[in-house]
């Protein structure tokens, strides 16, 4: 699937005026995002959330980082699609420079990325940033 850009997503979500449409959009994004095959959902790739689980696979291609993710919860998968729209196929520098909190605020979804939410999203963001930092050094 071709992910929309982070700006496209901000524009799309701004267009909806009720929460149901917004959540439906996120659910649909989650459904469209290809997950990981069973055998790729290994323990070392698992980012444990308290309520849902998230797996992350990364590789580097031509100086850009590529990510594949999966979650057992569809809304988390949709939120991950939003995260990947910002981070996927970007250089480590671009990743480190991106303000994810501001992005989620612009999406009016900041509550989902607060550290207190046990959905694994924050942990994924930290992991991606860690990978980017390693790549820069």
């Amino acid at each position: 699937m071709q992910l929309p850009s982070s700006q496209d997503i901000i524009d799309d979500l701004a267009f909806f005026d009720d929460w149901e449409q917004r959540y439906q959009y996120i659910i649909d994004l989650g459904k469209a995002l290809p997950g990981l095959p069973e055998e790729a959902r290994t323990a070392d790739r698992l980012v444990k959330g308290c309520q849902s689980q998230v797996w992350l696979v990364s590789r580097s291609q031509n100086g850009r980082l590529q990510f594949d993710v999966d979650s057992d919860a569809i809304i988390v998968q949709g939120l991950l699609a939003l995260v990947l729209a910002a981070y996927n196929d970007k250089t480590p520098r671009q990743i480190l420079d991106f303000d994810i909190d501001q992005y989620f605020e612009a999406l009016d979804l900041e509550r989902h990325i607060t550290p207190t939410r046990g959905n694994g999203l924050r942990a994924i963001v930290a992991k991606i940033n860690g990978l980017a930092r390693n790549a820069v050094h």
Binding site: Q24, Q51, A73
Partner: protein, 405 residues
């Protein structure tokens, strides 16, 4: 007389909260209950009028604080029908209470001894005993439950023997809502000569706990699940057992005589209460009990039953909904799964509609594994919930089902 729920709700300021413009529907009562104004007032009043440290009284305020703090102990003792006040030990909550028992037990256990628990434990009533067994070389024996979430009493009885040193079980399961036959189980365990520790975290809020009638040795509970503050709870233990139970923490308040190389410890209840206690918490917890006991107990029990009955009716009508925990004898805790919907997704969509439920493993990972499920969504009802809220919850659930389909 039936319960005037509208008037009851007026006493809980937080229930007026709006979430995203929708009235809060609080259905996470098994995690913690909300606090009535009477409890909030008691906390404010304590700090406003008589804050001082207790049992160090050389002045008026300290005497007054000590008087109220010890009166709170009496309130708890009466509430659970303890024999004497010294049997009530203040703790930070159920978890600390269970740790006091497990820590002491670990010193008494030897390899070959057995500790019995059940498949329906909260981690607090599992990891504690597990670690005591690991330290001492004793074995942990786990009694199975049925698919409905009822304990297998025949297996329980069969597991008891002269190596059984302690039996631990929950009064009520936080994940399944099952009310266990604790008197019967205690009698069986006592006949085998074992100590009995009841995890009362979920049992206490439903009233009518009588530790003498139960016949157990320990009963642990938290204030916050009983309309009281967080950070306060109790360990009730039989006096003859607690009197020489291994000390828990050491420090001030729990001593009689201190020299550099040795200490004589104090007597009950202080020997198990080191340091400055949670004074306001104890007073707040007593205020919660006084408030609770001021309610018509029969009316609130009828109301709680009505909420669960209505929820069960609506659950039976809902396609794709599977209840987790269908014991005959249950409190208003409803764990469930929806076909094709992850509990976390259900939680997200309910939250957006102002409805607070719990999702996840319910602090009972081995139980989830035993039931072969990743976790559940859980709605838990309290006395201030209304039938309308239960109905709104199911409407919201249907919306979640449609959106996630």
């Amino acid at each position: 007389m039936s319960l005037d729920v509208t008037a009851l709700r007026q006493q809980f300021p937080i229930l007026k909260t709006q979430i995203d413009g929708k009235p809060l529907i609080y259905l996470d009562n098994a995690a913690t209950t909300q606090k009535p104004q009477a409890v909030i007032d008691a906390l404010v009043e304590f700090y406003t009028t008589c804050n001082a440290n207790v049992h160090r009284g050389s002045h008026h305020l300290s005497d007054e604080a000590t008087r109220r703090y010890e009166k709170a102990r009496t309130t708890v003792a009466r509430f659970i029908n303890a024999n004497v006040n010294e049997e009530v030990i203040w703790t930070s909550g159920t978890t600390e209470s269970l740790n006091i028992v497990a820590h002491g037990l670990a010193q008494k256990l030897q390899s070959g001894d057995e500790v019995i628990i059940t498949e329906m434990e909260h981690h607090a009533n599992l990891v504690t005993w597990q670690q005591a067994c690991i330290k001492s070389g004793a074995s942990l024996v786990v009694i199975p439950i049925s698919e409905d979430g009822e304990l297998d009493l025949a297996k329980f009885k069969a597991a008891l023997n002269n190596r059984t040193k302690l039996v631990a079980f929950p009064h009520v399961s936080n994940a399944l809502g099952t009310i266990n036959p604790i008197k019967e189980m205690t009698a069986m365990a006592k006949a085998a000569g074992a100590l009995v520790s009841v995890d009362g975290a979920q049992g206490i809020a439903h009233g009518g706990v009588d530790v003498q009638a139960i016949g157990c040795d320990f009963y642990s509970f938290s204030g916050h699940k009983l309309f009281g503050p967080t950070g306060i709870g109790c360990l009730w233990g039989r006096k003859d057992v607690l009197e020489d139970w291994p000390i828990w923490q050491t420090g001030g308040e729990m001593i009689a005589d201190v020299e550099y190389q040795q200490t004589t410890f104090g007597t009950l209840p202080f020997r198990l209460e080191a340091g400055t206690p949670n004074i306001s918490g104890a007073i707040g917890m007593a205020a919660a009990i006084d408030w609770f006991m001021g309610l018509d107990q029969h009316a609130i029990q009828t109301h709680e039953k009505a909420l669960l009955t209505r929820a069960n009716e609506l659950a039976a009508d809902m396609q794709g909904l599977r209840l987790i925990g269908t014991a005959k004898n249950k409190v208003g805790i409803m764990s469930f799964l929806l076909d094709g919907a992850h509990p976390a997704d259900i939680g997200f969509i309910l939250d957006r509609q102002g409805i607070a439920i719990r999702t996840g493993d319910n602090c009972a990972q081995p139980l989830m594994k035993r039931l072969n499920i990743p976790g559940t969504a859980r709605a838990s009802f309290s006395i201030y919930n209304t039938i309308e809220e239960v109905e709104a919850f199911f409407r919201a659930l249907k919306k979640a089902q449609t959106m996630l389909a």
